[in-house]
């Protein structure tokens, strides 16, 4: 146990965090799997029986909680080799109609939360003169989709955070990367928080949003499971030099590629046509 590399992962109750924690533990890491609410730790506890995996509470929205968790890991393991910033959720609604509180809540987790954990862990990695940080970004950090504009904007921010932090940390032998999954089969969509204006049926965009929801909730047969993302995270963490970004899923690879070849006006036209279909649905 002593010479195993140590990983700290946020948001491990379900989905990508859950599978990443298990996979890393199986691959010889000592894993600190953290959850916002340890009452939800049953399934992970069961699945990880006998593995070098410990569960700790960590709510990325709260500074005190982040400090306590990171200090706990250092006390127990003495070091951190990898941080996986996975905790996140998606807001759904028209950009115009989110209240201040809704905007703040979305950023609190996806952006400020990610920064909070990173800020706490960086000094440790620096002292070790080694370490890796992986952010779970999204295809939504490369392209903006209707109905989830607020969520996309947080993931765009994560892209810029990765790009700048990657260069800032390099002289200290700390590597930073972003993993960009496309659509993945996890409870992510169920856990989505819909804008109050939409839930109460008083949105000016009501019908369009409903059509987008109906479209997006059709489970795609092509969407990979969270294990695929976990495998990519493991591959990144176990490589000698991490690339800047890793894409997971056909959509995450293809969409940006198509976009890359398209002139702006054509992309604009394509988006408009797609959005118009929701409107008329």
């Amino acid at each position: 146990m002593e010479n195993k590399p140590v990983a700290l992962i946020t948001g491990c109750s379900t989905g990508i965090g859950f599978e990443t924690a298990l996979l890393l533990a199986r691959r010889g890491w000592r894993v600190f799997a953290t959850l916002r609410d340890v009452k939800k730790s049953g399934p992970l506890r069961k699945a990880s029986a006998g593995m070098p995996l410990e569960i700790l509470p960590l709510d990325v929205d709260r500074t005190a909680s982040v400090r306590r968790a990171v200090a706990g890991v250092v006390r127990k393991a003495g070091r951190i080799d990898a941080l996986v910033n996975n905790a996140g959720w998606g807001a759904f609604g028209a950009l115009e109609e989110f209240s201040d509180a809704e905007i703040r809540a979305q950023y609190e987790t996806n952006v400020f939360g990610l920064l909070r954990v990173t800020r706490e862990v960086l000094p440790i990695l620096r002292r070790q003169k080694a370490g890796k940080v992986v952010h779970i970004g999204s295809l939504a950090g490369q392209m903006t989709f209707a109905g989830i504009g607020l969520y996309c904007s947080t993931k765009y921010a994560v892209e810029a955070i990765t790009e700048s932090l990657r260069l800032e940390a390099r002289p200290f032998n700390i590597q930073v990367a972003v993993v960009e999954p496309g659509s993945i089969k996890t409870p992510f969509k169920v856990n989505r928080r819909k804008a109050v204006a939409f839930v109460e049926g008083r949105s000016a965009y009501q019908k369009t949003l409903q059509a987008i929801l109906a479209f997006g909730d059709n489970p795609s047969a092509l969407a990979p499971g969270p294990v695929r993302v976990a495998q990519t995270v493991a591959r990144a963490l176990e490589s000698r030099r991490m690339a800047a970004r890793y894409r997971v899923g056909l959509d995450a690879v293809l969409f940006p590629l198509v976009r890359w070849f398209m002139p702006d006006f054509l992309y604009d036209f394509a988006l408009r046509r797609m959005y118009a279909r929701f409107r008329k649905a």
Binding site: E96, S153, T154, S164, R166, E168
Partner: protein, 281 residues
């Protein structure tokens, strides 16, 4: 010319905002320019003495202030044809040198401020079936560098916000676009907020920050005058429909296309040639 067109410009007492207020008023627009600090409103008041420019008190960080300011314009004019979301500033420092408050302040103005203004003007624009929102982004949205990571993150988020709003509001006849300038001579450097620990003797990034500062000062010494930006704004105001995004200077276009064409590894190598931080410590 377009004598009855009403424009609302945030942050109009300085830099871009002030120059655009003058140019638009000279072309017959009725310009409402916001300021938040009466002691710094001098240049705007001087402008108002000879042109159809009307100063409005507004702090984009506060919802009540935004609603009140926009409400006053709507009451007087009955409409806002163009919103120029311009108020913004720069937080500088390596990520580890920024406090939570620094980061929050950066997003509060540059991102949440943009959303607040959009929320305040859109209902009236949708009702009239016309209107235009021009967000001032930055070339930093596409090219994140050390020291300006937080700023880049906010401008990347704005990039996504523009894209979402552009899709979502089109059916109401509202046009949303973005301008992404590179360095231009304004008060942006004087108004830059340094992260909490940037000047701290114990900051591990001290040497890097200093060399970056010298680099930035040099670049801003040769920055283009504000006239280039004004031309672009006038073009965006006049275009029906607008382009998806507007770049300002030739150098900005080169940078944009380089980033577009280069794989991450090549881009980072090229950045490393320009900046001195890639050495190990």
């Amino acid at each position: 010319m377009e004598s009855n067109q009403v424009v609302l410009i945030t942050g109009a007492n300085s830099g871009f905002g002030l120059a655009c207020a003058k140019a638009l008023a000279e072309r017959g627009f009725r310009v409402y320019g916001t300021y938040r600090n009466p002691r710094k409103a001098g240049p705007l008041r001087d402008l108002a003495a000879g042109l159809p420019v009307f100063p409005v008190l507004m702090d984009v960080n506060r919802t009540a202030s935004v609603e009140k300011g926009v409400g006053r314009v709507l009451k007087r004019e009955g409409k806002i044809d163009v919103l120029l979301n311009n108020a913004g500033f720069v937080v500088a420092g390596f990520w580890e040198d920024l406090s939570e408050e620094d980061t929050l302040a950066q997003f509060e103005t540059n991102v949440f401020g943009v959303l607040r203004l959009a929320r305040a003007v859109l209902p009236s624009m949708r009702k009239r079936g016309s209107g235009k929102i021009i967000n001032i982004g930055s070339i930093a949205a596409f090219a994140a560098t050390p020291v300006l990571g937080a700023y880049s993150a906010t401008k990347s988020a704005v990039n996504s916000i523009t894209e979402a709003l552009r899709m979502e509001t089109r059916e109401w006849g509202v046009d949303v676009t973005e301008i992404n300038p590179g360095e231009i001579q304004t008060n942006v450097v004087e108004n830059t907020r340094l992260g909490r620990d940037v000047r701290s003797k114990s900051s591990p990034y001290r040497a890097f920050t200093e060399s970056f500062e010298r680099f930035a000062q040099e670049r801003f010494r040769h920055a283009a005058p504000v006239g280039k930006l004004v031309q672009t704004v006038l073009k965006a105001v006049g275009d029906h429909p607008t382009k998806r995004r507007y770049l300002v200077k030739f150098e900005d276009r080169i940078l944009y296309w380089m980033r577009w064409l280069m794989p991450d590894a090549v881009w980072e190598w090229a950045l490393g040639l320009t900046f001195p931080w890639s050495k190990r410590v």
